[in-house]
């Protein structure tokens, strides 16, 4: 044993063990418990511990679950697309067009040193009925009546989350842009590419890993978010996480909540894997 610990493999395992054990336990144990719970049933406050597929059956047959799941994935997809699309130019700007990289990275992180809930709240102030946006538009004389489509719908959810996730999208993309050997870009120019062609033929394919990383970091947790939808989503913004939260909260039906969690994870995982495969394949197609 002592001998093993002196080898490279031994040292590596020993050093990384605390972190991976910690995460492993905290992932594996709850997941295990979720799985067990998902086969139980609950009526009122009594938990029935006989194993049954009933919850899965319910999750599979209830159109509500399917509807919310689909909507969650669509909204999360929209959030991901919007965030990444908005973030890419910024990451590009910081990586290639400015020397004050640290300053810009700082500028981008500072807004996130306030409370998330307060930031979401602020969005309501901006998008609200007599919020900043409407007040501005009215005082400019562009509209007479306040616009109501700004808040309490999917748009508001997408906008709010595109804001909240900004640094999580900018940083991985920035890193992958920063890693690009500048001489590759010059080589492309040298071989006759204009700036735009160069971007699509070299820069973009080389940042596919960064885009994938950013997308996963955004997409997956967004599906699980229930706070933002309930604050700014209005009557149309409900997502599957709200349903899960209701099971663990008011409905007090943990087994069903566990089942829905697992179903959600599985669907999200499936979508994520499909996305990675598709994005990688698309990146490869560019020549």
């Amino acid at each position: 044993m002592a001998g093993f610990l002196r080898t490279e493999a031994g040292k590596g395992l020993a050093l990384s063990a605390p972190a991976s054990l910690y995460v492993g336990l905290l992932v594996a144990a709850p997941l295990g418990i979720l799985v067990v719970y998902s086969f139980w049933t609950q009526t009122y406050v009594e938990i029935d511990r006989t194993l049954t597929w009933a919850n899965y059956l319910e999750a599979a047959t209830d159109p509500l679950v399917r509807h919310l799941m689909l909507r969650s994935i669509l909204i999360a997809g929209a959030v991901t697309a919007a965030t990444v699309a908005l973030a890419y130019p910024i990451a590009y700007f910081i990586a290639f067009r400015t020397r004050k990289k640290t300053l810009w990275l700082l500028l981008i992180t500072i807004p996130f040193w306030s409370s998330y809930l307060l930031r979401v709240f602020s969005w309501k102030l901006i998008l609200g009925f007599n919020g900043v946006m409407n007040s501005a538009l009215i005082s400019l004389g562009l509209i007479k009546e306040p616009l109501t489509f700004l808040l309490y719908n999917e748009f508001a959810v997408v906008l709010t989350l595109a804001h909240a996730w900004a640094p999580f999208a900018i940083l991985p993309i920035y890193v992958s842009l920063q890693k690009i050997d500048r001489s590759l870009l010059e080589a492309a120019t040298d071989l006759g590419c204009s700036k735009l062609e160069r971007f699509f033929r070299v820069t973009l394919p080389l940042t596919v890993p960064g885009i994938i990383a950013a997308s996963l970091i955004i997409f997956i947790p967004t599906v699980g978010d229930y706070v933002t939808p309930s604050l700014v989503g209005g009557s149309q913004g409900k997502m599957v996480a709200n349903l899960i939260q209701v099971q663990f909260g008011p409905a007090n039906n943990w087994p069903l909540g566990a089942t829905l969690s697992l179903v959600a994870m599985a669907s999200v995982g499936f979508v994520a894997v499909m996305f990675v495969i598709l994005a990688t394949a698309l990146g490869r197609r560019i020549r």
Partner: protein, 329 residues
């Protein structure tokens, strides 16, 4: 010493005016932990969270009892028990199956709040919520029981706590009809207040606290208090938790302080909430009593709907159906 007593409460209730007697005796306030909703409180308590007192409302009590979270109250140790409004003491939930579980503290109305500058008093009704003219102009709570209480009033169900299948269907249909009009399902009262104040929402099902907040902010809005058109009354109070670790004496001292006449006077005058102590209405500033609409307390109880504890089976159905309605199903 004073802080060793822990109270699990809505935020804001740590106001020392609510339990002056306790502060006097123990020289300070108990320690407070907050929840955002009664459901949240239930989840947390069931998860093993411990405290001495908690502050739910009557509609939840049956579940709390079933989950074995709370102890019966020894009413003989409540000095003010006899002074409490009798109608309040009778509410289902204060007593469950003949046992008293709660010392009622504050009560009030849940009703239709509307903009008086946009809707005339004689036109307002619960049916207006379903009127296509108000598309995107109404807000109702993101809570199944409250929504169904409203629907029951609107559809004339005989009993809210024990609806027949047909009545339940009618109530659900009503909620479905108003869904397209709903701007948002509010989860915090402030959201409703702001929307009404700004004119974003003209009609909303809310608490009398919202009405007051609007009055204080000089918004032309009020609650529809016509019992014939439909209004509900809620009662909340303190329960003695099974997980309590403090001595009964300290717990009851707190309960006594909360139900005292002085506390009642304070909450009526400063918060505009109705208190459970009948004496408090006499000693409070009568001007304010009038402004807040407490001049004739008994009228509240006559035909108003009380948030009694719904039967478990019905509650489950409500929750499930309400989720569908919200999702547009």
């Amino acid at each position: 010493e004073a802080g060793s007593l822990s109270v699990f409460d809505w935020s804001g209730y740590e106001d020392q005016g609510f339990y002056g007697g306790y502060v006097e005796k123990y020289g300070g306030a108990p320690s407070y932990t907050y929840f955002g909703s009664v459901e949240e409180a239930f989840t947390k308590l069931q998860s093993g969270f411990a405290a001495d007192l908690a502050h739910p409302c009557t509609d939840a009590l049956r579940k709390w009892v079933a989950a074995d979270l709370i102890k019966p109250i020894d009413t003989s140790r409540i000095d003010n028990w006899d002074k409490l409004l009798p109608q309040i003491k009778d509410v289902d939930g204060v007593t469950v199956d003949g046992q008293t579980y709660m010392v009622p503290f504050e009560w009030g109305n849940t009703g239709l709040i509307y903009r008086t500058d946009q809707i005339a008093e004689e036109d307002v009704s619960l049916q207006l919520l379903a009127d296509p003219a108000y598309q995107g102009k109404i807000a109702i709570p993101d809570a199944a029981s409250s929504a169904y209480a409203m629907a029951a009033l609107a559809t004339g169900a005989s009993s809210y706590t024990d609806m027949s299948d047909e009545e339940f269907q009618k109530a659900s249909d009503f909620l479905r009809r108003i869904h397209p009009n709903v701007r948002f399902y509010w989860s915090d009262a402030g959201q409703l207040d702001q929307a009404i104040a700004s004119g974003e929402v003209l009609l909303g099902w809310g608490w009398n606290q919202s009405e007051l907040n609007l009055i204080w902010n000089e918004t032309p809005a009020k609650m529809m208090r016509d019992v014939d058109k439909g209004i509900a009354t809620w009662v909340c109070g303190y329960v003695h938790l099974n997980s309590s670790t403090q001595s009964d004496e300290q717990v009851y001292d707190m309960l006594n302080a909360l139900s005292a006449e002085d506390s009642g006077k304070y909450i009526i005058e400063n918060w505009g909430y109705a208190h459970s102590n009948a004496e408090a209405f006499k000693s409070a500033d009568q001007e304010l009593i009038k402004t807040y609409g407490f001049a004739d307390v008994d009228s509240f109880f006559e035909d108003s709907l009380f948030f009694d504890a719904v039967t478990p089976e019905l509650e489950g159905r409500m929750l499930k159906e309400f989720e569908r309605i919200k999702a547009g199903f």
